[in-house]
Subunit: 288 residues, 2 copies
Amino acid sequence: MEHLLIKPDPLNPRLTRSVSGIDHNGEAQEIRVVEERPLTIYLNSQEIVTAMTIGDYPEYLAVGFLRNQGMLLASDVITRVDFDEEVETVVVRTERKTDYEEKLKKKTRTSGCAVGTVFGDMMEGLDAVQLPATRLKTSWLYSLAHQINTMPSLYLTAGAIHGSVLCHEDVPLVYMEDVGRHNAVDKIAGWMMLEGETAGDKIMYTTGRLTSEMVIKTALMGIPTLASRSGFTAWGVEIARQVGLTLIGRMRGKRFICLSGEERLEWDADVNAVQDEPRKSVRKGKTK
Amino acid sequence: MEHLLIKPDPLNPRLTRSVSGIDHNGEAQEIRVVEERPLTIYLNSQEIVTAMTIGDYPEYLAVGFLRNQGMLLASDVITRVDFDEEVETVVVRTERKTDYEEKLKKKTRTSGCAVGTVFGDMMEGLDAVQLPATRLKTSWLYSLAHQINTMPSLYLTAGAIHGSVLCHEDVPLVYMEDVGRHNAVDKIAGWMMLEGETAGDKIMYTTGRLTSEMVIKTALMGIPTLASRSGFTAWGVEIARQVGLTLIGRMRGKRFICLSGEERLEWDADVNAVQDEPRKSVRKGKTK
């Protein structure tokens, strides 16, 4: 039977910190906030980027980042991944000799919540993507949303964090959180590459918006379904339709909107039996 | 009398698009979603970056991005800013000869919601920052939040967008929206530079999280107060305390938390008279 392999770790003292301040009544308050630390990623002898991350799973983050940037190929043999906590670096070593000096010169700022950059051509490799027309039961969507929203998480403990969850049917398999949404997705990509996991039967659930970057990343990972609590951008929808990705957004309680791949939906859920979200698990991303 | 100089433009047909899909009942729906388009920024003859942006105010975005990256100095004389809509480029020209080849090699992914990059050293210039100990009345906070949350905006029309607002006391002056939070802030920085606006008496309000990047940007812009509906990261709090920035987060209805600069608050608001937020204006960022 399938079960959750990686789940949020809200009790890990390395991931949150207690800070003191005052509230609106002028009273002293102590709250937990998430950590944010640099991690410099190397591919063989080349420094690629410094990521601001919460700091868990640095090996998955490095491998997934490099894979999603097209710097690690599906065929690459990874010989070692070394994380050095003290100097905050992770080095991914491959059999193949790599040199991305040219690619590093071309930068695209993506449209997430921070200065965003994708190296090289954002659309690179997208023409070759053939996503399988995997069926999607609406009962899975409701079950996944309920499980993910009510599970103990850094989000429920400290807020200010994004989550991405790799799912199979109605089972959440890998639930990653990070201060950067891209990092959460990259950690999943790294886990998939290192574990040799298949993509064509999976669902990606994210708490973030369905922007072009998120759609491209999911498609390049070979995952045919992307679902979110948040809203859409026009270009995200356009690319999803081009590559045949099922795109579900604005998932709240019984509501959702499907803007691509609607012919793959199986309407097996009784919508009237779906409960509204419990207030304490109402997430950010409360977009219309 | 002061008044709003730039406000959201939800009726501008260039900024949103109508797309069709189906909802949770299987019924056809037509919704508006925000646009997301590339804009390549040049400084003199050098290509610096391609930003994914909603596309309004390209000149402010380019100037503000370059200023916030330290590539335009406060002393720089801008001779021309040329936007070419067809090829989606904007070129900023200065009297001073510029060359940032070396700086472009050092990249830091920030912790926002997309792959984030800051060129050069993220903390560069922060040691020299001296923020004035500007007073902050709690009545201004409540008034600003109410005005900003109820004003017609792309957010209320289409969702999936961030807002940043430059304010003076209880007056919102410049309200920018963008698919990238960093873009909204950069557009404000560009407006301030081109209009020669002072910073020491201003308040920056953002819908996004108070991460290190957001705190550093606000401090480097010389703005002594940063307020948000969303939550904090530990490093964001640490830097705010180092540079003497007043940091207010988790602003919802009558609630807020102040984690830096609390001695500058003037408690002139009657908390019990502050109303809860109307439901239709409840924004994403509903973090705890």
